[in-house]
Structure formats: C-alpha cells, structure tokens
Symmetry: C2
Subunit: 450 residues, 2 copies
C-alpha cells in the first residue's frame, strides 16, 4: 500500500463522540430536566463557553485552576473555558441584577470542561443541568429545591433513589458548643473521609490535625453517626446542639424543610438525613443535598447542591443569597447504561416506509407526510433497493414498524404494516376518510411501549 | 468611595449572555428543529467542542484558519474549538462508519466558535442546527432536504419564506459548453457579486479576471438571470445547457427535485429557482439551498445547504456522498426579534401562586403540585410578602394568571383566579372531585394564546 495522506480521524483524550444510541437517551434526559425545571417556574439562560480568565480564576481554588482550559485569544486576552455553571451564574447575576429582578430562578443546561486526570474514567467534557433560586433566604426555596430533585428523578424513571439532606449549621452548632468552630475546616476535612476510612482513624485525625480532644472527636462522630429516617434523627440531634443558637436554628430549619417536603407528598423513604455530608468546605452555608441511586450507590451523587449566603461577592457588593442543585447528566447517563435502563434505539422515528417501487416515490412521500402530520415520525428509505436490505436496515436502526406498498397495494388503496418486533404483517386501508392506518400504527407503537 | 477589589462582571467581546426573555424563544427554536428533524428519522449526535488542531485545519482554508480559537492543552497538544459542525461530522463518520451503517441521517445542534470581526455585528459564539443524510446519491434525499427546510420554517411559525434552489451542475454545464470550466472559480467569484454590484461590472470582471469573452460573460449572466417560478425557469434553462451532458443532467435532476417537492404538497410560492447561487465555491457539487425571509431578506439566508460528493475524504478512503443543510439559529432569532415575532416572557411557567398566608404554605405546595400534575407550570412565590409586590413580580415576569388564597378561601375550599392580562378575578372550587380549577386555568391560558 502506498503511504496515505489521510488524517487519522480521532477525538482528543478524555473527549468522546455521542452516537445516536447514546445521544437519543441523553437528549431525552435534557428534555426531562427542562420540563421539570420549567414546571416550577425556572427560566433558561445561557452564558458563553469562554470567559475572561480573571472571572474564572476569581475564586482562586487551586484544584479548578489546575484543570482549567486556558489560553490567549488572537488579541492576547487571557481567556478560559468554563469549568462549571456556578461561576458563570455568579458573574451573570452580578452583571444583569437590575434587569433580572429578584427573586430570580434560572436553569442552565450546558457543557463544561475540566482537564481532569482521565485515569479515573472521568471525561474532560461533560454536561451539567443546574437550577438555582437567587435572592431569597426563605425555607420555601429550600423545600422547592428538594421537590425539584424528587420530581426530576421520578420523571427520569428512577424509582429507587434517596435524597441525602443535611444543614451545615447543625454541625457548626455542635462545633460551636465544643469551641471547635475555628478548626471547622480541618474537622470537616477529616469527617469527609468517613465511609472511606474507619471512625477511629477519623477521630485520630481530628485530634492530631484539628487539635480536638479525644472526647470532642467522639462527640462530632456521634453527631455524624445520626442518619436515616428523618424524625428520629431530628430527635437525636436536638440534645447534641442544645445551647448553640446556630445549631438549634439549623435543626429547626431542617425540621421546617422536612415538614414541607412531606406535606408536598414526598415519601419518607426517599429522604435520608445525613449530618456528616458537607460538600465543599467553604461554599455551602445552609441545607445540603446529595442524591444516590439505591441500585448503584457507588457512582456517587447524581444531583447535588445546597444553600449559599452570597453567590456573587467577587463581582458585586449586592448580597445575593440563594440555593440550587446540579444534575450530573453524563454521570447519570452512565448509571442508567449500567442499570440497563437505556433502550438501544438509533432512530427517533418509529416508522420506516420501504422505498419499494421507484415509480411510486411520490406516493411514498404523500404517505409519509400523512403519517407525520399525526405526530408520528417517519423515514422514507432513500433508495429503491431490495426490500430485504431495507428491512435489515430497519432492524438495525430499531424502527418499530415498516409500511410496505407496491403497485398492488396502491391500486387497492391499501398498505402492508409490518410489526418489526413480532414480524407480523397486516393490511390497512389508505382511504383518506378512514383513519385505519394511523390507528393501527398507534396501536402497534403503544404495544411495543409496554 | 474606597478602592474596590471587585472583579468587573463582563463577557468577552463578541460573546453574549442569553437572558430568559431571549433564551425561552431560543430554546423553543431548538426544540422545534429537533422535533422536525426527528419526524424525518434524523438521529441526534454530539461531538467534542475541542478537536485535534490538524482535524480542524485539514481543509486548509485560510478564512477558517484565521478565525480558529486554537491553543495548546496542558500536555502541549495543539487543539482548537470547532468552527462549524461539518468538519466534526466528516471526522465522526470516518471514525465510526462501520458502527453507524449507511445511509446515516444525523442532526447536530451545537455551539461553534469563530474569532470573527465583530464590527459587522457578528458574534464569535453561535448555535447551528445541522441535518445531513450521508451515504446516498439519491434524489430522494435531495427532495427530503427541501421538505425538512419547508416543514422547519412552518413549524417555527414563518409563513413568508422562499427556498432558493440551484444545482451546481447547471452552471457547470453552461461553463463546459462555453469552454470556461477551468476558469469556473473566477467566474463564480464574479457571479457571487451579482446583486451587490451591477451586471455590467460583473461581466467586466469575468472578462478581466476570468478571461471570458464579452459574449461568454453575457451568456453566463443570461443564465444567472433566469430565476423565479420553477417550471418557466426550467424551460428557459434547457436550451442554454443543451449539448452539455453535465448541464442536461443538472436540469433533469432539478426537474425531479421540483416534481417531488410539489408532490409532497409544497406550494410553488415557497420555491424559487435561482441559477446564480453557488455557496462555497469548491464544496457543493449538486443541489444548493438557501432560505430567505420575505419580510427580512437583508438578513441573508437562515437555512442553507446542498449536496456534496465526498464528505470525509481527508480522513478516509471510503467515498461518502451526502446532502444536508444548516439552520442558523441565532441569525434566525435575531430576525424574529426584528420582526416582533418574539414574545417577551421571562418565565416558562404560566401560573404564579401568591404566598399570601405564611401559616398556609403547605396548602400552597399541595395546590401547586395539583396544578403541575396536569402539565401546567406553577411557581410558588418564595416569601410571604405583600400581595401587591407579588403581583408586580408576576407582571414583570409575564405570568398569565395568579392563584390567590388565604384563610377565607381555604376554609371554603376555594381559590381566587386572577387573569393578569385582563385583571379580572373569579373564584373556583378546590374540591378534589371537581376539576373546576384546572378547567378555568386552561380556559384562561387558551384565551391568552390567541
């Protein structure tokens, strides 16, 4: 073979293509998220993929700075690709606050980029679906955030999940009572390891690194050990924070949240109080959410968030408290794949019209337009090749049924409907005053959907 | 004022934020495009925003290279941000051809980046909605492409548009007959200026730059002058290309295309044959489409495309002919804004529940869940502030109606429905066996939709 001048077609390491069989369910997830967010009055926004580097680096977190895709544009401006949707939101509300008005509820479904280590199976480009309520400290917004997460999981078709809930003030209250508030970062860092290392080691770290006494460390761990069914956890929390205004307020706020969630019809079985979860040591100041799939807890939280006191302090003097959460769309998609909840279909149209008789092409077009006008997607095979090949194509793509008509059928104003799942064929009238064809198509589609 | 350490919140030059009042219609356009593409059996795909630089620079076009956002990633790899969706498609089908199978129909709705001169009011980040049929030379795919463009415009709500159609082989046929085929690039470059400069100047350029005779230039211009109603243009074309196999095939192919489009029910008024359009001098090899809004022709084509012989020749030896078109979503959105076809609404939920009585918050939650379960979006105001302020908020956001209930209403199991357009209020029962509330809400929404 002679040397080829071809460029090898390939994606960058850590990046990937989405083929239809994965992109169809991925789009379906996005649509579901949009529908649920909208049903609660969240409005869509979009921000640029590229921002001034100083906007993205404003927070100065070493970890995100290390992962940032940054460069100089043609004019020498330092720019970066967004690594999350929260920093752009903060910049956005600071910039447009007067136009937006408060409270402001937005969702944002968009791609973010992080030059992460790919050895852990992580991708460097992934989609996030965030929703946030800015400009209110009301517990009503906390309750609503939990309800949105709940409805989102349901709408996606996940029935076995648990929303883990905490309020940072509860732990802070205990630390205040123990006079450990100044060491809270070190305490929380140790506590975060619970589950990965055993409790004795966590206690030892609290003593060694955070300067707690052995007894204080045990108190923190006994608080963190309280988890599970909401009302019993709440009862257990009260004495541990008694006397700390912060802690008592945190417990009261958790109580209001749980009461509201329950009143809105959410089952207790979906809620799990977990006083140990902290999520981002400095960021969240109130309630915290994480969402785990009961059949696949190892994949981590698929929807996380919480309340923050001041979203945009780097960009504006206006105080903007808020609450929100983020659905990790690509992580959830990976989970659904692993749980076999993703249907292998490569076409969004269920009906294929076989292009059988080249003299009848216009009839096929008219037939397609007619079925399409009822809201059912239809593809006309683009070439008049052998029927067998067209049916193989239909099978491979995952069409649900094929419409087959030649001279004989058109002459008698009928059409063969082939159910591609069962292989059964039957004849339907094409008479325009009868809706037999469409009814039969809808019946087969409804059957296959079961 | 003391010196502030705040970072000025701002976007990069040529980039912009989408606030809800623009993002709501923008999402609606994307959804419409997805729905139409799917209804013809096009499947979604996605590709990375970043590609190896050699993939993007493969074509070596000076113009796109100049506009490319390119940089080295952390590992020193030369990378670039995609500037269109066609190069990624070519790479994608070359890489996955055996998995995909042919014919392959895909759509791709995604952002692209070009460091263009912003003085022309162009943005450097914009969204494209492409659809393509790969792996067939059949005229059936040409017809379908026109039908998709037609249905797309209709579904978007544009009634006054014209799809301009040409076939590159017609012009090539004439050039062949005139023995000008080798100068075709220079001829087409001159011809492209028609409309901007007058015909005499175009003819002069053909003579001076392309080396045509005065008579030849006139012949090319007389062909290009043929445009308008399909059947008369076709009749006029035939003698001009007679004797050129290429030209005659082009005219025959145009004839088949127009016959198919008409058979599928498209009005002649929507189709405009224009032999002068060439679009991209080297790329398209067959039919070419452009789509103009009759009320705003100056904005240019909002949906353009055509047939190409070999999509992925840079990346594979497999010959992959195809046809496709691209909806310029952000250009179309700008046009709809200019035509006042964009409704100014900042919330996708039509119903606001006023949070009126703080002791009744759980009742508001239940009421919201009930209305939401019928498919109508509902926002509960997050704080128990004065009703007047909540109604101002509702007005500003564009809610259609407010539900107002206090102790008196809940005691009598009723609720006030306030139509925010007319200001009229009425009372509806909340009795769970009666659907009065939902019926009344739907009636008001239907009214306002007129």
């Amino acid at each position: 073979m002679s040397k080829s001048n071809l460029i090898t077609p390939r994606t960058l390491k850590g990046f990937r293509d989405f083929l239809p069989e994965l992109m169809i369910p991925r789009e379906h997830l996005m649509e579901t998220a949009r529908r649920v967010y909208r049903s609660y009055g969240f409005s869509p926004i979009d921000t640029p993929a590229l921002e001034h580097l100083e906007i993205l680096k404003g927070k100065g977190s070493e970890e995100t700075d290390k992962q940032l895709y940054e460069f100089e544009d043609k004019k020498g401006r330092p720019v970066g690709m967004r690594f999350d949707l929260t920093v752009p939101l903060a910049r956005f509300v600071a910039q447009h606050a007067s136009e937006l008005g408060m409270p402001f509820k937005r969702y944002h479904i968009a791609t973010v980029w992080r030059g992460e280590n790919t050895q852990r199976g992580r991708y460097r480009e992934f989609m996030q679906c965030d929703f946030d309520t800015i400009g209110t400290k009301s517990v009503a917004a906390d309750i609503e955030t939990a309800l949105v997460i709940h409805d989102l999981m349901h709408a996606i078709g996940i029935t076995k999940f648990k929303i883990h809930i905490n309020n940072r003030q509860v732990l802070n209250g205990l630390l205040e009572r123990l006079d450990l508030l100044e060491q809270s970062t070190a305490i929380l860092r140790a506590l975060d390891k619970l589950g990965k290392v055993d409790a004795d080691k966590v206690a030892a770290e609290m003593v060694a690194v955070a300067g707690a006494t052995e007894a204080q460390a045990r108190d923190v761990l006994s608080l963190a050990a309280l988890q599970g069914e909401p009302s019993s956890v709440l009862a257990g929390l009260a004495p541990l924070v008694a006397g700390s205004q912060r802690g008592e307020a945190g417990v009261e706020r958790l109580h209001e949240l749980l009461t509201g969630i329950k009143a809105a019809g959410v089952s207790d079985a979906r809620i799990h109080l977990d006083v140990a979860i902290a999520r981002g040591l400095d960021y969240y100041t109130g309630v915290i959410f994480e969402t785990f799939l009961e059949d696949l807890p190892g994949i981590g939280s698929v929807c996380s968030g919480g309340r923050y006191d001041n979203l945009a302090e780097l960009y504006t003097k206006a105080e903007l408290p808020g609450i929100g959460a983020s659905l990790g769309l690509d992580r959830l998609l990976a989970a659904l794949e692993e749980l076999n909840l993703v249907e292998k279909v490569r076409t969004p149209a269920p009906v294929l019209i076989a292009y059988f008789d080249s003299a009848r092409f216009e009839d096929y077009l008219r037939l397609a337009a007619r079925v399409r006008s009822t809201g059912v997607g239809v593809e006309v095979y683009p070439e008049a090749i052998k029927l067998g090949q067209q049916l193989k194509y239909a099978d491979r793509r995952g069409f649900r049924l094929a419409l087959i008509a030649g001279d004989r059928e058109f002459a008698s104003n009928t059409c063969q409907i082939k159910d591609l799942a069962s292989g059964a064929s039957s004849e339907a009238s094409l008479a325009s005053n009868a809706d037999e064809l469409v009814e039969r198509i809808l019946a087969i589609l409804a059957e296959n959907a079961d």
